[in-house]
Symmetry: D2
């Protein structure tokens, strides 16, 4: 087996999900490459050392430029806040490293376009961690759509509802809370949550044509952890938008962190002339499927427990009826990335594919300001 | 249209459901007969008068024998406590009246056999109010089974769980509470709730071979409303039993009034080699159906919203998606009874058919005492 | 009891639901007034006669002006297509009749304003049949909100999804299909389905400030039943809109008749800082309620089976656990209308209250054309 | 950190779940011991070598006696078919090894008693892999019960339904199919599936008093993989039993591999005077909880998404709303076993505790033959 020596930058929530994926993938998938936890990098030496020991990384760095310069690293995994993705990725590309970058790709479309140029010029394998594509039920949805079961598509709707920022006491900024700081995150729910919904939607339903959005910041000021002062909140707490797709379908999208009762309710539904599909992250191992061609008296939404060997990815895990969870979507992404290296058919979303999501987010945020419909710029 | 002049005996909960059914049936079903609320009978003259006014009965009686003797009555509807069914029904049969008798048919099998003999000798149309057969989702289950979709049957399981008698302060006996008084009710949950489960099971799965039961009375003494004294409780608060059907399938049945959280959770499930069916009274307008012959990757329990015109009874009501409720099962029963008069194909369960349930109940109660398997006596 | 002599105009789907309500209400509610089915009116004499016989109307008319002129009629019930509501209602008001008008009130806001003026000038009791307010679970939602349990409201979202017009073979116009004919219906899903969602939303969440909508007509031409020719379809097949309420909450609304798998999926959800509520017409007897103040380890959405005597309207029906259905919302509306006559506190929505919904619909349709945010005109 | 050197015997389905647990536990839990995959043992040298390479075991053995004799092994993990548990465990105990034994403990109670004697004489830490105790929702159920929230317990009911052996073409015996061979498995669903239900029930509801069972073998003969001949099937395909617990509650248990539509539907429900709990393996990350002390109008089953940091085990994983799966229950068991070594409070079920389940299974199988109630022998 060929080693694939990983250099991970950042050790937060995503650093953990990726490390777990690298450790597990070769136990469950037959692949040419073997992931090696070569190095992890972050500014705080003590913390990064503890992380390395916990996860079995063989070395540490505190300067990401040094990590990129190392010859014993094959792939750079970027898990830092959004505002550093571009700089790191462009440098890594120049150093000839493969890149696995956390989502969203960039702070905005133009910045993302530079990242795409960098990886394409360097011809390095690249991927963005839109992990929900690889929840088996979501992958099954893609398969059913690709088989043409739905017919002409009329509607797409997606939501990503959370409730963890309702308290005005919650500060912004700093470790774990950079998602509330516009400088680090670029935007609020749009880049954090809607980006997931948009990536899935493009994958399942094709390109966006135009959008019409509204955003709101319910809590206008929060204490900033870094400055210790009460500062204006710059992110969008909630965002909803109407959309039209290139295939003629109509869509609604909504995300908020103020929907009491929902921890991480990412749902999507797609209605075609012949069939419809619904999925919900809170029960991620299930897919709801309605097929109008079923005999009328026994027609109903089928509640599919996606845990059988002939359903996507599931033959690698346990036995029918035994569910996998959130973390497995990352294992699948690594497996597909490695399979892409073998076959030369890169697994998506590549930087170029993920750039589309960036331009949709840009149009959404622009529309929220302009209060008008905004066309989505072409990423390709 | 021919009038069908009803004489109702008893005005409790069932008196209301039946009266409502008689009033509605001709608005929704095209039938030769027109129900006429001719008379209602009960011992308390003031109360029966108020009931008659409320529901539009044209006259009252306080002695059921007088009601039966009246020439302007075509059908007697028996809604009294269980211990008076036999006497009234036998008298009504002798008087040549059609009979619609509340369930359970009788206090026990031998008593029921006399009632069957009486109606068959008199050749009067007769039916027992096992209304759940005519919830559209249940009727659809019957249709699917009759079409042979399930294949060989392996398992049947039914439950009827309630929680309204948990408080030891609840008295026994008297209006509304005669179900807790063994003298009036004969048994507790066995005759009241399991009788429903058994009737449905016989209808869907054929005859019982033998049963093995346990019963329990959790609250041993309760104040009796009629005597004012604390008296021993004679009914079964809970009953569970194993069963074997004549078709080789295995079954479990359970009923209790001590299942906190369940108001009237009557559920049944039947597992065949090719397909399975599940139903739940708390969502009575839905049927769950699983068909193994569906393509494997999209196989799942179908959640069928039984509200379309091609599903049983539903063309008589509203439009797809708009649910009907509990009371409609009684309307359907009247409609079918009247249709049976037209066609000469009597709607079931007739007294003879309902007698089977009585013998199962007898075997269940006997087994609970003998602590052994008990054969079910033949009703036919 | 005082008689309330009803004159019904129109005998379609709504004519049936209203007739059923008038026939049942006095059996289940103690009221001063007794509904009397005095007359039914429609142009086709044979059909209206059959309808009258079926439902027990004592007389018929074929000209609604004659009906309104009759002295033995107390209340006019308007069940005709939308484009005749105004003319009939204004004439009935002038004749001093009470009016129960099907929803939507009118073809548009200005027309509705004339109707409001007419009933207010004539001082006749008036109500519009937005029946979903009186599904017990929805009424319970209102009660919980009025008690202040939700706290500050952040989000409201509602959908009304159907799938019955997907086939291009379906014609427009004529009996039962006038909802597809813009001349008779005024609009498509906006006036038919979103009007329901908007009425509930105003009731639960207060007034709208502005809206931003998109509409689509998927099938551009359909055969017209009346002309026999293929004609352009003038209605909106689908409509989605963003909204801002006066209380600062954000909202999304969507309706379509092209959502495969949904017969009549009217759902709404409201998220407050302390609690959230969800309801679904397909299981109308349930309310989902989440209360953040529950102890954290056992916090979850409560699935409330709204069938207990202390929940709205339910003491009038059966026993806990036994569900009622769609038709009962109409019975409740009649009961409340009659109670309003007794108490002098009119039941809503009155014409004036229902006018608000009309102005929201106007703004929605205007926005769909202007492609901009549109303010909602004040109805009061 | 202290190493805990594991010697695993058997590499089937359970060999994989345990290996995964040993590899992951130290990444997610702070513990004194570090699991070391020291050796794996099975008869087929080529296969065991491949397994070792896949999972990172440092060495292999083909004779379990040699494994037990090795000084560099601290703990023996027994993943072989049921008929070899006793011999291996007794030898391992004599060799002073800690033992982690797959369930069920033994072929029957008397055999299990010898195993208990062996580990207790040798004073070696021991545990049985009844992993479902450590699904967070199940552990939460235990916590709620221990807090006394349910009050007096009236009912317990459990089912474990599968459908994978319905085809008569499926052979018995050999790798992966030894569960159909009575010689290797001891029994069918009773030892395989009901043992899980019984273990959970004892843990949650205390000891059994007596049972009354029926069993069935639907497919009487199957080809045997090892002999190549059609042979009589000796296992129970289905088993249902009534039970009474020492705390006075009534119970029903059922398991089958012939319930079409259910892959691994392990459910249990417990009804107390104040509250009830329901859990379902097909959605293992949720717990259903009903509390009668909730205010009546908003009382309902709470659907708890067990994914918050204050719920059992969940602080070790991801963030609220993101579910874990089946495999994590094994990680938790290793974590608790290791924590037990630290604290001297052994994690359960120990061999002695698991012996109780064995005696219940014995009584169940005896009752199925005797057709009578059978007392459950005391394990302590």
């Amino acid at each position: 087996m060929k080693p694939l020596r990983i250099g991970l930058i950042g050790y937060g929530f995503m650093g953990r999900t990726h490390s777990n994926a690298y450790r597990k993938v070769n136990n469950f998938f037959q692949l040419e490459h073997q992931c090696v936890l070569q190095a992890v990098c972050a500014r705080d030496a003590a913390k990064v050392k503890a992380f390395a020991e916990n996860w079995g990384y063989q070395s540490i760095e505190t300067d990401w430029r040094k990590l990129i310069a190392r010859e014993d690293i094959d792939a750079i995994d970027i898990c830092t806040p959004n505002n550093s993705h571009a700089e790191i990725a462009i440098a890594a590309a120049k150093a000839g490293k493969m890149i696995l970058c956390e989502k969203p790709l960039s702070m905005n479309g133009p910045e993302g376009r530079k990242m795409v140029a960098a990886v394409e010029k360097a011809k390095v394998p690249n991927i963005v961690w839109y992990n929900y594509r690889r929840v088996p039920a979501v992958t099954l949805a893609k398969q059913l759509i690709d088989e043409g079961r739905l017919g002409r598509i009329f509607h797409y709707r997606a939501k990503f509802l959370q409730d963890w920022t309702i308290s005005p006491e919650l500060p912004q900024g700093g470790a774990g809370l950079w998602r509330l700081d516009a400088k680090a995150a670029g935007s609020g729910v749009t880049g954090d949550l809607l980006a997931h919904c948009i990536d899935t939607a493009i994958w399942l339903n094709g390109g966006f044509e135009k959008v019409n959005a509204m955003t709101e910041t319910f809590i206008k000021e929060r204490k900033h952890t870094l400055t210790g002062k009460v500062e204006k909140v710059g992110i969008d707490d909630a965002c909803a938008f109407l959309a039209r797709f290139q295939n003629g379908s109509l869509a609604t999208f909504e995300s908020t962190r103020y929907a009491r009762g929902h921890k991480a309710l990412y749902t999507f539904e797609i209605n075609g002339e012949n069939a419809s599909i619904f999925w919900d992250l809170h029960d991620l191992h299930r897919l709801q499927y309605f097929d109008y061609r079923d005999q009328s008296i026994v027609r109903g939404w089928r509640n599919i427990h996606v845990s059988d060997g002939d359903q996507p990815y599931m033959k690698h895990w346990w036995v029918p009826g035994l569910q996998i969870g959130y973390e497995h979507s990352f294992v699948h992404q690594v497996a597909d990335f490695l399979k892409g290296l073998e076959t030369g058919q890169p697994a998506g979303p590549t930087f170029r594919e993920a750039l589309e999501t960036q331009f949709v987010c840009d149009a959404v945020l622009k529309s929220a300001k302009s209060q008008k419909w905004e066309k989505v710029a072409k990423a390709r």
